[in-house]
Assembly symmetry: D2
Homo-oligomer: 426 residues x 4
Amino acid sequence: MATVQTPLAADRPGEMTAAAFAHTRAMTRALCEPLETEDYVVQSMPDASPVKWHLAHTSWFFEQFILKPTLRGYPVLDPKYEYLFNSYYQAVGPLYQRPARGLLTRPTVKEIFRYRDHVDEHMTELLSRRADDPQINMLTTLGVNHEQQHQELILTDLKHAFSRNPLQPTYRAKSTTVAAGVAGPMRFQNFDGGVREIGAESGTENAGFCFDNELPRHRVLVEPYALGDRLVTNAEYLEFVRDGGYRRPEFWLSDGWNTVTAEGWIHPFYWDDSQTREFTLAGPQDIDPAAPVSHLSFYEADAFARWAGARLPTEAEWELAAACLPVAGNLLDLSRLHPESPSDAGMTQMFGDVWEWTASPYIGYPGYRTLPGALGEYNGKFMSNQWVLRGGSCVTPASHIRASYRNFFPAHARWQFSGLRLARQL
Amino acid sequence: MATVQTPLAADRPGEMTAAAFAHTRAMTRALCEPLETEDYVVQSMPDASPVKWHLAHTSWFFEQFILKPTLRGYPVLDPKYEYLFNSYYQAVGPLYQRPARGLLTRPTVKEIFRYRDHVDEHMTELLSRRADDPQINMLTTLGVNHEQQHQELILTDLKHAFSRNPLQPTYRAKSTTVAAGVAGPMRFQNFDGGVREIGAESGTENAGFCFDNELPRHRVLVEPYALGDRLVTNAEYLEFVRDGGYRRPEFWLSDGWNTVTAEGWIHPFYWDDSQTREFTLAGPQDIDPAAPVSHLSFYEADAFARWAGARLPTEAEWELAAACLPVAGNLLDLSRLHPESPSDAGMTQMFGDVWEWTASPYIGYPGYRTLPGALGEYNGKFMSNQWVLRGGSCVTPASHIRASYRNFFPAHARWQFSGLRLARQL
Amino acid sequence: MATVQTPLAADRPGEMTAAAFAHTRAMTRALCEPLETEDYVVQSMPDASPVKWHLAHTSWFFEQFILKPTLRGYPVLDPKYEYLFNSYYQAVGPLYQRPARGLLTRPTVKEIFRYRDHVDEHMTELLSRRADDPQINMLTTLGVNHEQQHQELILTDLKHAFSRNPLQPTYRAKSTTVAAGVAGPMRFQNFDGGVREIGAESGTENAGFCFDNELPRHRVLVEPYALGDRLVTNAEYLEFVRDGGYRRPEFWLSDGWNTVTAEGWIHPFYWDDSQTREFTLAGPQDIDPAAPVSHLSFYEADAFARWAGARLPTEAEWELAAACLPVAGNLLDLSRLHPESPSDAGMTQMFGDVWEWTASPYIGYPGYRTLPGALGEYNGKFMSNQWVLRGGSCVTPASHIRASYRNFFPAHARWQFSGLRLARQL
Amino acid sequence: MATVQTPLAADRPGEMTAAAFAHTRAMTRALCEPLETEDYVVQSMPDASPVKWHLAHTSWFFEQFILKPTLRGYPVLDPKYEYLFNSYYQAVGPLYQRPARGLLTRPTVKEIFRYRDHVDEHMTELLSRRADDPQINMLTTLGVNHEQQHQELILTDLKHAFSRNPLQPTYRAKSTTVAAGVAGPMRFQNFDGGVREIGAESGTENAGFCFDNELPRHRVLVEPYALGDRLVTNAEYLEFVRDGGYRRPEFWLSDGWNTVTAEGWIHPFYWDDSQTREFTLAGPQDIDPAAPVSHLSFYEADAFARWAGARLPTEAEWELAAACLPVAGNLLDLSRLHPESPSDAGMTQMFGDVWEWTASPYIGYPGYRTLPGALGEYNGKFMSNQWVLRGGSCVTPASHIRASYRNFFPAHARWQFSGLRLARQL
């Protein structure tokens, strides 16, 4: 979790924090607009959570870590919420069992929005009254970034729940302006090796917010390498499928092959068996050959790379290539909600479209330290048996992503917008 | 499932059927009045179903077995409902997987009520136009009885879902008029043996509706026996618990002991560990010592009987004792929604309060035959690894129960209102 | 478990008991002759046990229930054996976990045979010294019958273990004298109904040994019925398979259909997919069309009967038909070790060849009582979720079977020699 | 898997290879001397294999990869062995299911030793006839190293199987010369940072055998660090246990905490609950406080390090510290078969005693390539969800281990001799 940094190098950090808070909280509500009450309730698999729960848990975070310790006389709305909406902070108290989140018909959606209102009112008051308190600003910025992560999860979890319903509901109809795109041939762009630095800047004037797992900035040694100048497309992935990719063990890690066999995987997660249609937030749609392949597990990304005679980039290679690029692309702010074909030349699609699996297991950087207390559980304790993904996706808020951002999921996870870019040793 | 019988020995069977249909459909709606939209969605365990699903499935039954085959030009509201709301009729088509019923956020509750309206309108029209068609009357009566079974399940499934929520919601507040009762000492009443008849009357003037599993009426041989004149109470069961009942294998069937050990059972399902409070449809309440113990598995009922030096009655013994009694007691129509202490003298509590586990495995009577077609799947295919329960419970509609009625559940099931009455050989 | 009866109405019961003891113990050893040391060790599924364990457990039985309580100064060979070789007698002490029986490389086979020698010596001494003690004779007879049950299990468990080995080992080569047989058309033989008696005779001069679950002899009411005059053959069962028997849910109990689907059953247990070969104790062999079909679950037997327009007999119907027949047939004493085509006219194959699934769930007879103490656990505690089988199989010792004998297995069990005979209502 | 290198920089590589082959094969037999036939058969958990299987599989390796492709007219002993004793080489053909290895009573132990003789004879002949063939020498060296890995597994798998037996058998009695030791205070020794090289030397005159996962030798960047000069002891670990180590989530990775909770871990694998005794290959023994703690999972090693205010070393840190040390310690050749207290000063116990968990996930080195064909499956396909261990244990052959050696196991594995050494950032 975040270390204490001046959140934005501005004259009035408090105002900017309050604005970010208001914007983010409103954005979450906006994401719920297309939903029926019933859509908030369901947990379609243990990894996912009901929308209701996301709405409550993000409010709980502000209440638990800011309002309760900071605002004297803060009136707790319901003391049971502390237990119900704690996700995994062992230091806060006992946990409501994760796979049973979908059983909570009460509090109702209406009551949870009332809870949000309650937290919003008190947070707004606090932020206006103590606009200069750097600790409150830091924690609020952390809470905002935390809520942005849940904005992405609200959409990926809804997509999963809708996909399981034989009625195949639509979250939002496809924009009529989206035309099937074109993807030129993939070119490999070369990068120098050497001892370089990665990780977020900390303690300098330019440093914005970052999570603790992006720290400390540290030296790494990389050898010369090349990266594909765009993401792997559906068309390219289909070639792999047609070449027997899912039936040939030579491309797969042993764990991956066991998973493919046990689960009966024969194509990416949301493709149908015809391999011409896929489930999207706009319901079932034709697969766009030029768009990036998405909803791959690490195993599939790794196997594809092997089949293609390449490999996945390490996270250092990716970050060094991204460090000089502007943070722009098909992100949540564009409201496409689906990966699209590249529109530019050069190193494209580094931010947005799909999270890019890397070859790097998710562990702490040299010298990594967690914050004391419950917030120390935010990132560090998940540093085993997961892999780093980089770059954000079409449902990641633009203000949330950056070159040093480290996302992580287990190798078998497929319900996120996750794809790949190829790399090569030079 | 029902055989063709004059549904009610009345002058105008069609009118009576239409009235029963209207009454039952309205009753189901009435049961939903205390609910929030969210409460309709959840499936708290694979054996249970969401209220939404019960509402839709009972309508599906009328549509599938009456409207579609009978009403020319009947406009199907949504062809996918045939798949979504089929429970287990293999002959009708593929089945939507039972444990995933809780994933269906759509159709919404509103849409499902619209579906009910649609079916109600066409059924009402059909019943008025063809009031004399004995086949339609028979099938409608069957559908009514089917829906009554789901009325009971709506309440037991809601009770389960609410019990899993740490907020412990209340379905309906406890009636203030209910005082803790008194249960006198249990007395055993003797019954003669001999060759007797059990099963529903069929084909006679007095025969009302019955399910196929109550037929044929047939001869049985019973030896002289005695039955307790009331149900076993919470106080009596607590003695068993305090005597180490759940820790002493000598009282238990081997399967039961394995279940107790694996599941960690130490008291009835909805008791809390203090053994003074239990979860009810009115939320957590004090356990009434004089009320019948409820929510027992067959294993617990059987172990208690063994501990008490008695046994469970066979279903024939129970039915012969019940045959001459009026169908009256603490049933759904009283709206108590919880078992209560006996109020009368004589053989009490034979109907209502709790279903009574019998010593009889659920198999077909000699000469039992299923109906042809999908309706033949109603009862017969479940005749293995289940046990017969008799007498109805506090959530069984009074017009649904009778002396020959055979309910059945697996030996480990506990979420129904299920208790016991003792029996002895003479 | 056995009640106290004069074990054999003879002048010198002690001598006869001692002879039965010596014969049975020697027979068990003889069954082991074809085995390699390795063959004694393996447990190929949780329901089966290693041969070593059978050898030790049957000795433990004599030690636990006779030698320790009766023979003053009896020297226990190893006190840990009491724990290791207790099967399910909770009253004797804690249980070694059943599925881990195959982990016990020690005691070695040699040590277990030493254990048997030790028990045999002391039993022989006891039986000669106290030849007139009716209690010792009764318990020894019980131990002999217990060991005979394990003789059958040794063969069925070995068959299972060998079948799992890709080398498909042979227990004993097929006798060259066995020719493929002929089975005439099945004829139904009629039986009268009425109030009759079943169960073992007890307390009369003619009463031999019986298990407690065969008692008390009691009255039953049967309606007129007919039984097939021979077992259902492989050829007949193959017709069912070819008629889509395993793909048509209408023939199956719901539990059975779920099992067929989940397990992927498409033919009897030991048939191969060509449906022309089956695994036997003589290794893989051609399926004899005229021999009884074997290694069926209850579900398969029941589904076949339904397909054939018939049903399974109740255990009362079977016993009444068998009561007047001599106990003779293809039993262990013939050493065929495989079911064979019928050789006689009349009601054939009632004893031997395959155990016959009945339509009767396994519960206690009216008035059934268990023995006090640990021996009370022998039979009674298994009276749930199992079905009665009658008549013995080709691996049942002839002196072990009788008309009143009740065997029982869960509905899905297939590794015993189990088949069926058809029945019909008249 | 191994790359082609001059196996030993000697004048007569063929003779040395033949000698290593003969020595290793004899050593494996010697390890079996204390065993009874029954001990060869059992598979006590899916991760372990029966000794029989280890004996056969190591012979299969020579047959499959050397004799069949190289020795014209090589007479295969049994063609089914190719299927039965293939471990995980998908390219060789279908796999016999791993968890069923314990079901194979046949081939018998005697037959498997005959198989070993057969392979030994033909290998010896081949090695003498074609002593100069570098490919044969390389593959033989690989087979020798492969067999050494299985020597270690034979002992750890036997330990597991014996530990599960309530009789607690002894593999070999404890040497009477082993006295309880002393471990001085742990001192941290400092190491410089910088760009350094790790991995096996390849293609130089000094290069001996290595596995493919030790290649290529490559540059790494390390920052200054310190390592404990001895392994963590039982006494130190006991302090962690007594300080509530297993009950305090703050020390644990999230996966680790879930495992601790689900499995009920409260101490190292082979300790008993008194925490004074542990199971060893010499049967149950007092825990030596000064000996290294062993049979830890990665999760426990990591949690202990966190509790101790330190961390685990990376594999690069470990290798750089070990590179200049002689390969000596409590290894299999000493026949202690149990970790012991340190006997020297300086950086002790780097080789032998227990495998040391590192902080490094097991992935390929930059530029890592697998061999073509089936041998390419040896190491590379396991590069996910495992962690690197370094240094060998008390059951690792001395000629098998080296500074660059990379062992790997999943984070929850505990049945290997696995412990830890502390590290710190400077």
